[in-house]
Symmetry: D2
């Protein structure tokens, strides 16, 4: 299967879990079906939001398998394969390629971080183990600024199978610089939900985010309208959205759990610890009120 | 004189200097006249760009005087009065009020920085010494994130004469949060030239920047068109502009010197050291080519 | 088995591996035997140096088992059980307790880091799963400074089974403050090899480090002499040691590999990637010369 | 006058001020006389502690003049000449040389900071304006680590009149590295009071600090005893001293004011704002009790 040029709005797909933290494949199918129904532009699986780092190698392969079978060609899928051990990442990358994903993504070294040189070696090992598009993360804040920016991007461009990057930063100048220095050779996704409209002005083709599981339809609508020239909608939506993100952040996992249940009838469970540890509870009324604020801005009454 | 609600595009006005680093009042008049002719929305004087911290107290008062006389009510002026010694800032603030400025701005403590509590005391002392609008800077990166954001903004809102803030950060989520948490009670200016269009989506009413001395007309045009819905122009302009900023940054002062001379026939001189120390030279051709790139995007052939 | 109060010099034990990155249990026994012969004061297993985060759960349990059988009560052992998933840490902690370790240590949340509150929950879950001494890491740089230091330490002191901490920081004032604020209730180990003598002045009872695998005898001798009043030896040794650390750091894993082979006839292998990726090779002569410099300062001709 | 090799314990001399923030020359003489009587090893004037950045150029020259006349050759004096404008620093440096100081020190660029290259130009301009020993500050945290450390120190060593450095950092490894990389060619002073004994193990010849105005005799005694081998005294003293520093830090200026009055009958006044803004008051009993704790550790009943 081939895809037209990728981009647009991609959920960093939740991986629903049961009470022991194991994948709940039935709910996983439901959430993938929701994304298809809402005509979202792609799925980013097993990233930070998808608890990628909290499952066993076998579980990660099973999750990708279920997603691929459910998607069944409806949209491109990128699998995040970052792991503590580079060898595990390679095995995950090769399995995902076998399973038919569009591309592979990976974070840089997780615990053993010793600078850009080391991260690039890690990327090189993973990128060269596959034959499909490769989307590494941007490495830290320091690599784009200062005199070495050009050199850093040159090295990124020589990675095997390099296709683009996922840029999870609130510093939008960094995003633009990567676009500029790579001279249009990288397909860039912004990763900060709270700035997804602003990031369209920085050379990105798409946005990947957690909140797009919940409000995928609304965010896709706003992003497209904004690009068409509806500044006022983009502006109004982003301020409301940012306010909500700020409010739910300290208890974000219990919020997502409740909100997905109430809005989409999908039980994503509570994530594996340490994720979500210490999150307080939400009452239904507050969650619904937050959802209403989003609907009020977009004028969409989804579901 | 009263002003309608302020906002729009404000140059962080250059202060032209002679070879000894003393203000060149004749060139200062010329640059103010240029801004008036281009119908820019206001002037921010003696900030970082205006070498505010590199002049004596007496020189700063004389500079503000010349600006006020030349502006002669054509646009609002905000004077930056930050200094190492809070007492000096107070004297500068009171003199500027006498001279008829619209408002006062100040950076936080410069050398002796001991946290938010101390900075707020410094702001309080300056704000209470005047009776006109007060626009302090945002204090560091840490105050808006984490649990204390609301408390920090509450304290800002209780400062005497508080009217707004100058937010010089590339983290646009920080800008939005200050807007949201202050519930529309602060007039916010973004201070990062390289993100001036993006920042219009974050609750700001205006942008203050160095490059607006050079390309004030072009940037004002782009900003207004973008807000009206010309996404494509905003997008194209910002990427070109950011690329240029990245290229000139290592030798920015010699660039400004040459470019102001070539484009506007104004000699701003080379700034007082340490500003600009180590800047290499530019040849005329490269500077003109950069100016042409800006003209090509906007379609404006200014001057 | 009971131990007298712990402290002194502890290697952060290497875990020798074969070419596929699997534990080499035979070489592991040899390195444990070396530490016993040198009368080192304890063993810290499966920390960063011991590649703890790069093995499977099963491998980690097997490694601890081999260490415990070889040590056979000769010295206390602390097992580091940090993992991406808190549930895995708990299983590792309980297994290590079964295997007879003196205590458990753990790093804070590895990938999913959301502040001190979250880290303390993670620690609480691990500490409460066992009945033996618990030694969490210090969480980040920010928690001891500012007004919250006292509160942070109070919370540490209420962790189940809390016995002490491993403090891997080059900021020695931070170490002292934790000692002072905990009022002697925490057994503190410093974790920065390069400052092990300096850290004896900061309320620590012992030092844990990578280089103590290689120069355990020498470092133990220097530490004890320094505490007895031999300032001159401590001073001279630390400067030489720091110079060597600085020189080998960019290629530290290939250095350790070669040096352990040459000095102790133990093959620790090359670590699992990303650890050591991009390390250049060492020639035998340079490695031996470095070892000679250490011998020259201490006057000890070990092996 | 020539001095034997410098080093030892140097107060970062307080500059007593009256209620308007102007220098109190009578009290200044008294504090210099106290330092002479206590046989301290030198005086560092007009640094951060001496409010150097809060006086006018003329006041700074007058202060140095009074110090030099009172010292009258009894000990070496280093004058800190850092200012916002490099030209002002040069004028201050040349005046201080005229006034007979042993050497000049300066911080890096204060407000306009644009990296190491710029700071080195600033240092070069100041160092080349005089003919006496030059002691710049260490520039930021980043310059010694990473691959550029050697290059950075090489550039420091080529500065005109370079004699040594003042290293105000709690990261003692950084101090050692500068010593090692400069191959004994720099006279290094540590600047963190709270680690003055630990820093003797890092290649420093002396310590400069604020608290040495108050407890100069005690700290000099402890430092010398510690170097002679009295580990126990050094250890005990540092922990008490650090605890006190931590306790007084949030209100340090009102503490110094009270303590200097009570212990030495010298009125240093309250510093120019923003320094000390927001400091709470101390009662006499608490201040005396703190002084007693220092006396108790050293066994010295000074004054």
């Amino acid at each position: 299967m081939t895809h037209s040029p990728i981009g647009g709005l991609w959920p960093a797909l939740f991986t629903p879990v049961d009470q022991n933290g194991n994948p709940d494949f039935q709910q996983l199918e439901k959430i993938v079906e929701l994304c298809i129904k809402q005509k979202l532009d792609g799925l980013y699986v097993l990233g930070s939001t998808g608890q990628g780092f909290l499952f066993s190698e076998k579980q990660r392969m099973d999750i990708t398998q279920t997603v691929m079978e459910t998607v069944n060609g409806a949209m491109p899928v990128i699998a995040q394969v970052g792991a503590l051990n580079t060898r595990e990442s390679i095995r995950l990358a090769q399995a995902a390629q076998e399973q038919g994903v569009y591309g592979i993504s990976t974070v840089g070294p997780i615990y053993y971080q010793s600078g850009v040189r080391n991260a690039l070696e890690h990327y090189k090992a993973i990128g060269s183990s596959i034959d499909i598009p490769f989307f590494p993360y941007h490495i830290g804040n320091h690599s784009v600024f200062g005199g070495d920016a050009r050199h850093y991007i040159e090295q990124i461009l020589t990675l095997p199978n390099i296709a683009g990057m996922k840029l999870t930063t609130q510093n939008l100048y960094e995003v633009s610089l990567i676009h500029i220095l790579s001279q249009d050779k990288l397909v860039l996704f912004s990763g900060a939900d709270e700035l997804f409209c602003q990031a369209t002005l920085c050379g990105t083709v798409g946005a990947i985010g957690s909140f797009f599981n919940l409000w995928g339809e609304e965010c896709k609508f706003v992003r497209e309208e904004f690009i068409k020239g509806n500044f006022e909608l983009g502006n109004r939506f982003m301020l409301t959205f940012q306010e909500i993100i700020h409010d739910v952040l300290p208890n974000i996992w219990s919020f997502f759990h409740q909100a997905m249940l109430l809005k989409h009838d999908i039980n994503i469970g509570l994530p594996n610890p340490p994720l979500g540890m210490g999150n307080g509870e939400w009452n239904e009324k507050d969650v619904l009120e937050i959802c209403d604020r989003i609907s009020a801005v977009t004028g969409l009454v989804s579901n």
